[in-house]
Symmetry: C2
Subunit: 119 residues, 2 copies
DNA sequence: CAGTATCCGACCGGATACTG
DNA sequence: CAGTATCCGGTCGGATACTG
């Protein structure tokens, strides 16, 4: 057995922080854009309800994966960006991505098809 | 930005296959034990309902992460083990585990505490 | 032993309307 | 613009009892 070194507790913690329908795509965009306003995120992500997006962002902030920065102006401007902890997820997410593309390619392309259709 | 190489679709697929309250611990044990009977799994995992455990195993089998082998005897014996696809998850899971222990150590130890108490 | 059948409560994602 | 309030339906984890 080659990969015995992981214990499930850390796994639980990590998966828990990643669970949420839109969190992967949020992370994906924050990795690319560095910093995004709430509405930017909202427009880029097809049809998520504002409430839900806010909930996810709040959770991720509570988990210290992202940082919320609010300019006290009117109208308000709020920026979200990855924390160090969030950035550190990069390699792990890449590994998952790699696995999916190598070992679950069918499901991945199927998902992409569905997104094209529904989007 | 260092880790732009992942796309969220593969992530979605992977996280989807890993989502389920007991899947991490199931994987953990199958990585270590190679092959386990249903009841072994059931006893090792503290208080999961049989129905739920079966559901998770079925899903993981449908996702081709594990292989179910049934000896047609009486009483029946059923063995579960990782498929190639499942084994290939090793590095990705290790990466997540590593991240959790390095960047979310507090949450991990807290979880371990809780497990001690409730178990 | 392994699996199925019911039933249930909690939680989660979502739609809509409203506020500072 | 960003966020809150309410309400709703589906799904998920779970408890219990039964079957081959």
């Amino acid at each position: 057995m080659q990969y015995q070194q992981f214990k499930h507790c850390g796994l639980n913690v990590a998966l828990n922080m990643l669970s949420g329908k839109w969190k992967p795509i949020i992370l994906y965009h924050l990795f690319h854009q560095q910093e995004m306003r709430f509405t930017e995120l909202w427009r880029i992500i097809p049809k998520v309800a504002k409430k839900v997006l806010l909930e996810h962002l709040k959770q991720m902030e509570a988990h210290e994966l992202i940082i919320r920065e609010e300019k006290h102006t009117f109208p308000p401007e709020v920026y979200y960006r990855l924390s160090e902890r969030g950035k550190a997820l990069g390699p792990a997410l890449s590994a998952l991505e790699l696995w999916a593309n190598e070992y679950a390619a069918d499901e991945v392309t199927e998902l992409k098809q569905r997104k094209k259709v529904t989007a």
